[in-house]
């Protein structure tokens, strides 16, 4: 069964629970194993192309690298740690290195879990599921859907505004005040247009008899079956399995903020 078929709310819940479990631990091996398993599931059961995945994943590799760098340079040194390298106020210890690596891996494992969700879930189905399973008020859910519909439109408008700035001969912003003015020149027209359209959309929705009534019978029913809970169990199992392996290898460490 492809990952697209599972209940979106349970998929989201699964990601959140997995992230919470992972945040309890602080070692490089647990998140690394989770990352490998999640990525594999995304490719095999989610039928997501590697190209698409890595495109979204790569900025986070960079982010993880920065995390590691920050943690290396600005970490506090606890007495009794093995010093690997030292220069002026900067000291690098073996333990510090492991902490930095844990932090980076943590970011990447969270990312892979989230990507699995994003790449295998349709936004409309997620919102329908939130209404049907999680009692999200229809007024809010359809309001979000209406706003979400504006995205492609705004992308077009953004391109047009950019051309228009060239036509009008707007010089490139260099200083901070110029950058602020530029930011405003883009956001204000986009927002002004979008807000007027939003008001019209609200009227169009009301003209179709939408009142936000919570008793709604859905045409497109999103159901929950034992398979969805099995999905949940398998993912939690995989994360716990990662911690078990990490424990076997002697890496497992609890995260308790004292580091």
């Amino acid at each position: 069964m492809p990952l697209h078929k599972f209940n979106p709310s349970i998929k989201a819940f699964t990601v959140i629970v997995c992230v919470l479990i992972l945040s309890v631990f602080f070692d490089p091996v647990t998140p690394f194993l989770t990352l490998v398993m999640t990525a594999a599931a995304t490719f095999i059961f989610g039928r997501v192309s590697f190209k698409r995945w890595i495109l979204l994943f790569s900025p986070f590799i960079f982010m993880a690298a920065v995390y590691i760098w920050s943690a290396l340079i600005f970490s506090k040194t606890i007495e009794g740690e093995t010093i690997l390298w030292s220069w002026g106020i900067f000291t690098l210890t073996e333990e510090g290195f492991q902490r930095a690596l844990s932090l980076g891996m943590r970011v990447l494992s969270f990312t892979s879990l989230s990507l699995l969700f994003i790449l295998t879930t349709k936004p409309t189905e997620f919102l329908l599921s939130l209404m049907q399973q999680c009692r999200l008020p229809p007024k809010l859910a359809y309001g979000i859907m209406a706003g979400y519909r504006f995205l492609p439109l705004m992308k077009e408008e953004f391109e047009i505004i950019r051309s228009a700035h060239r036509i009008r001969g707007v010089p490139k912003a260099r200083t901070l005040p110029e950058k602020m003015a530029e930011f405003k020149r883009y956001t204000v027209p986009l927002l002004a247009g979008a807000i007027r359209k939003a008001e019209r959309t609200a009227m169009a929705m009301e003209s179709k008899g939408f009142t936000g009534d919570k008793n709604r019978d859905f045409y497109h029913k999103i159901s929950v079956s034992w398979k969805d809970w099995a999905y949940f169990a398998i993912f939690i199992g995989a994360v716990l399995f990662s911690t078990y392996i990490s424990w076997l290898l002697g890496f497992l460490k609890l995260y308790n903020g004292e580091l």
């Binding site: 047009i160 228009a164 009008r168 045409y219």
Partner: protein, 566 residues
């Protein structure tokens, strides 16, 4: 029509509406009724509250805004206040003007389901109702399509399907074709006409361009500038007796009526009443061919310089995402010339104008502007010589006040404040916006925004002005004002290249037409010769201008008479 003996579906009594914080009501003391099965045209100048009235009749107002509604509206004898929220919308449906903001779901099927769910339709019945409604507007093949990939015309058909799926007794159309090109607009009116014949609903139509609607309306209600009812009666009476008053109120007349009025003033139309149809018009002319001459002499001729070429495109190609958007396009624009570019949606018109404006570079081929290739111009210098006007005026407005909007490019050129003030005032005076100099550009009216966006491109006295469908979605008066500005531009030796769907403009102003189809140039020549090329007209889904349509009708009537005689 003998409908009046029936009970009215909808009655309004002494209806007035006032926005909060505004003293004068938008419309006042409106009394009118809508009978089962009839089609009523609601006319009035811009800003007279037609749309506001439509929103009140659908119970959207006053709930959706902060305003005050006085008087009563009742549907089938029951007052509006007695209906539960959302209940009346099952009986009275509305299609709005803007195709972009009528939907809240991502696919066609989901959007229809949304309305049906709101009406508490049992889920198992929804699918068949969706299919039925899509069938009515010929959209069934698009059931699973993403809405944002549909064309404007398809979106409006979808909006119509959404309303029809609820089986309303009254259908309100609030300028549904204002943002459509002529071909899609004609298609929509034909669908509505067909539906009207087979389904039992009443129609309330608000429109500016009346030609395609006139044959399906039974009655007209006219509001004046103050929002009071000026006329309420049969369509024929409305235009017969009040044509001149309507013109005075700034209401656009159907082409046949307008031609009849001109003919009457010139003494060549002898009909007893003003005509509603071409047949009546032709029958009223003493000499139809002579009348054509008189009607057609409004055409503008420009002093085009024979040798001075301002822009020439040679063998342009443009590829994007593996698609050939433009193929081997060559043409030239001379000093003082008005060149029009026409073609159906997706034929590459906007892409071409983007290349001509130097916004992106052609994949192959070259563009010569003035004395050198477009790519050799420095960006800043180029913008002083070549202007570009976007379809939506708001897109190119960038300053916080009308004054600064015009002053913007002058400031970049480091002109002194005193000089800037002089130039800006002169330009604002020319476009009649001087009294609004301190306002925010976005808070202007539609027509004022259009004039400002053009003015911002006139200030540097550019040699060439490119315009991308500047009259699209604008009312008649705005279009006329715009064309006046462009005429002055050409008189002063500038050149204009304009993308347009409006064949009337093309007929009256263009010296040369270029027709594109699927990225290729299929016509380059005089407009008058284009109307004769039936195949090209069909491929590019162009409509002949009214005067040509009339010429053809005269010809076919004359032919028929000759045939009857022999």
């Amino acid at each position: 029509m003998a409908l009046q003996h029936k009970q009215p579906l909808l009655i309004t009594e002494q209806l007035s509406f006032r926005h909060e914080d505004v003293k004068n009501p938008i419309f006042k003391n409106v009394n009118f009724s809508l009978y089962p099965g009839e089609a009523v045209l609601l006319l009035g100048p811009s800003g007279c509250g037609k749309s506001t009235l439509a929103f009140c009749l659908n119970k959207l107002y006053p709930e959706a805004v902060d305003g005050e509604l006085d008087g009563t509206i009742s549907f089938k004898g029951k007052k509006f206040e007695e209906f539960r929220p959302g209940e009346i919308n099952q009986h009275i449906g509305i299609v709005f003007q803007d195709p972009e903001s009528q939907f809240c779901m991502t696919t066609v099927e989901d959007e229809l389901a949304f309305g049906l769910e709101n009406m508490k339709t049992p889920p198992e019945e929804i699918e068949s109702k969706i299919d039925e409604a899509l069938e009515l507007v010929d959209l069934l093949p698009y059931k699973h399509t993403l809405i944002h990939t549909l064309s404007g015309g398809q979106k409006q058909k979808l909006a119509l399907a959404c309303v029809l799926s609820l089986k309303p007794e009254i259908l309100i159309l609030d300028e549904p074709t204002a943002n459509l090109d002529p071909a899609s607009s004609y298609e929509l009116t034909r669908i509505i006409k067909k539906l009207k014949e087979n389904q039992a609903f009443s129609l309330l139509i608000i429109e500016h361009k009346l030609d395609d609607w006139i044959d399906l309306t039974d009655r007209c209600v006219v509001l004046n500038r103050e929002g009071e009812i000026l006329f309420n009666g049969s369509t024929a009476d409305c235009f017969n007796k009040y044509a001149e008053e309507l013109l005075l109120e700034g209401i656009w007349l159907p082409s046949a009526v307008r031609a009849g009025l001109i003919g009457k003033k010139a003494g060549i139309y002898k009909g007893e009443k003003l005509p509603l149809t071409d047949q009546e018009l032709i029958a009223g002319f003493v000499n139809p061919y002579a009348a054509l001459q008189i009607l057609d002499n409004q055409k503008t001729k420009h002093q085009v310089s024979e040798e001075q070429i301002i822009l020439s495109a040679e063998n342009l190609y443009f590829h994007k995402n593996g698609k050939d958007l433009l193929k081997n396009i060559s043409f030239s624009v001379r000093k003082g010339e008005f060149v029009a570019i026409a073609g159906s949606n997706g034929s590459g018109k906007t892409t071409l104008s983007g290349l001509l404006a130097g916004l992106y570079a052609p994949s192959k081929g070259s563009i010569l502007f003035g004395d050198r290739s477009l790519s050799q111009w420095k960006e800043q210098e180029l913008r002083l010589k070549l202007g570009y006007v976007f379809q939506n005026p708001e897109h190119q407005l960038i300053a916080d006040s009308v004054f600064d909007e015009i002053a913007f490019s002058l400031k970049i050129q480091r002109m002194t404040d005193a000089d800037i003030k002089k130039v800006v005032q002169a330009v604002l005076h020319q476009v009649n916006l001087l009294q609004h100099a301190d306002m925010h550009p976005f808070s202007l009216s539609q027509g004022q925004k259009r004039r400002l966006s053009v003015a911002s491109m006139l200030v540097n006295d550019q040699d060439l002005l490119l315009l991308d469908e500047p009259t699209f979605g604008q009312d008649a008066r705005t279009s006329v004002e715009l064309m006046k500005l462009l005429e002055t531009k050409i008189q002063s030796g500038g050149s204009v290249v304009m993308i347009t769907h409006d064949m009337e403009i093309l007929h009256s102003y263009a010296d040369k037409v270029i027709v594109l189809s699927e990225g290729e140039k299929i016509y380059d020549g005089l407009p008058d010769a284009l109307w004769k090329k039936e195949e090209i007209m069909k491929i590019a889904s162009l409509k002949v201008p009214y005067i040509e349509k009339l010429r053809n009708n005269i010809g076919s009537i004359a032919g028929r008479e000759k045939f009857a005689l022999t």
